[in-house]
Symmetry: C2
Subunit: 168 residues, 2 copies
Amino acid sequence: MDLQASKQKFIDTWGALGSEWGINKSVAQVQALLLVSDNPLSTDEIMEMLTISRGNANMSLRQLLDYGIIYKKVIAGDRKEYFVAEKDIWKWALKIVLMRKQKEIDPVINVLRELEADTKKDRTPEGKEFYKTVSEIQQFSEQLSLLADKVCNSNRGELLLKLLKVIM
Amino acid sequence: MDLQASKQKFIDTWGALGSEWGINKSVAQVQALLLVSDNPLSTDEIMEMLTISRGNANMSLRQLLDYGIIYKKVIAGDRKEYFVAEKDIWKWALKIVLMRKQKEIDPVINVLRELEADTKKDRTPEGKEFYKTVSEIQQFSEQLSLLADKVCNSNRGELLLKLLKVIM
DNA sequence: CTGAATTTTCAATAATTATTGAAAATTCAG
DNA sequence: CTGAATTTTCAATAATTATTGAAAATTCAG
């Protein structure tokens, strides 16, 4: 298998993995393409290499910029925008974790807190049982959320490595 | 808000969270329903309470049994199957983590290993660069995968708690 | 065994999500 | 400023995924 085919395989695999975890396939593929590209790429180049439409390429790039895992790169004398990927896996992986936590987990934690509050005073056995279940899930989620924050805000996840050694 | 409404809100929230993470909404809702139900439920009761079809209820239940996060419960003198949820959040959360890791992450790690092997001998600057990128992602993923195994196989994630204290 | 109760399967359909591509908006060299 | 180059938007459409529901398969009380 030549290098080009290997790159393509990487891009496809990455796209499939993204899909399974609720990340748009094109978004994942664009990141993958930029990760394995030696030079910055323009929207037109990305469209061509992934055979996707301009609209799709544009939206995928905006989302990745939004996540903070790719950057714009200005090329002198060229009016087009060029893009490069953040290559430090710790940086971008942690950014994705933090972003998804904030957008998807934290709102759920808030709902759980509300449900906890709403049923705290319920004295029926059924009410007490529900309160207990929700409380446990709420506390568990909150601990994980806090853990994610701590790990992501420590520089380059060195702490996580330290941890790995404690565990293993 | 009364208890019934609170339960419904929990079920809906759980379903929405599942969707965002690539878990079928019905599957997530069935788990949620069983989590907040005081007694074992039959397929018919689940169908009625979630207003989903028999086929959907059946498939969702099978998947949850497959994950090992709900159990069958036999009720004497009743031919129907009844189901209860694993209530220990550590148990079921870790089972989900482990299952998704095995089905979705591990195959990707294997592909990354292949790509690493395929390009190890490439001496072009482009080839070296690709090898380096893939290697980093591969090693990172492998470390995480290993971490997940260790955490999931230690009884009731006590180690994780120990960790939490080291970090925080 | 028998057949009613129950579970499972799966083709058809509905619902959701992703993608296109052309029109509108914006940018910026001259 | 002007207008060509570039980017963005978004309604229409395609692709994917979820759900239904009835037929087939299975189970088990009698």
